[in-house]
Amino acid sequence: MSLIVTREQILQLESIVGKELLDAGADHVIIVDMSGNLIMQQGSMHMEDIFSLAALSAANFAATAEIAKLIGEEDFSLLFHKGDKRNIHFSRLGREHIIITLFNESVSLGLIRLKLNRAIEQMASIFKGLEGKNKWPL
């Protein structure tokens, strides 16, 4: 099975990401699938190793899901790593995708989570088509 994303779908995703997350102060937003493929990216950061970031994020998410199973959870639907200057937030998008948000210390985690919820809601119809109707919502 392969995933095909059209120009219109990418433009729709970019519009949602821009309006909800970048306008709220996020530095960069990346969407990847669980296989580690980069679906789209948008933001102000120059990411030279974006494909490594996509692969490691998918692996990180999958490894954490295994930890969740060990403590009786199916998986953890969001992950957050705090750095000195920059933070990274991972959230599941449907069954097969992850949205990664990079933001700095001037933006609160609460705002990012609020905006992400809105963005994910708006992206639902796009990913419903991509993933199959039975797999959305979470």
Partner: protein, 205 residues
Amino acid sequence: MAFIDLNKNEIQAKIVYYGPGRGGKTTNLLFIHESMSKQVCGKMVTIDTKGDRTLFFDFLPLSIGKILNLSIRIQLYTVPGQVMYNTTRKLVLRGVDGVAFVADSLRVQKQKNVESLLNLAENLTDEGLDIHDIPLVLQYNKRDLMESNIPLLSVEEMHEDLNKDLKVPAFEASAMRGNGVYETLREISKRTIKNVIQKVGGDLK
């Protein structure tokens, strides 16, 4: 699962190097990384233990040109070969599009090769894939050790053990020296992309 971006006209496909522990999977990727130009080959990521064993996976992104006006981007992964890391291998196999199986030519590894191939078949089944259908090539690695006195399996014996049923292309290699590394990569890339394009051909028109 390959990803096709019609906005950028790009295909991303995932190829996993599979095989028994210490068989040379990481060495294959290292050789590719060191010998390819930086325009083709991205940064190699390795998650290993303090020794030389892969703990989670190695990852190497490659841009290998264009087919049908689509840029081809291949993501190479290795799995940890040690038997106990099966959960990790299953995670790395998720969404795989093609497999290069790196078998160890050392005679003492005869059984490990067979076990690893059976494990690959099982894990592919769990992914909803059949080892007979997925793009697959074999590599008989460490053939350079023939020059020393270390007992090796003959190519015929390896074929009998591993490829009698599968009948896929097999390459003799020495990943340390680079022999057979590109032949393996070229064949598995070709088969994987051909397979992806065949599967989605109708949807691309």
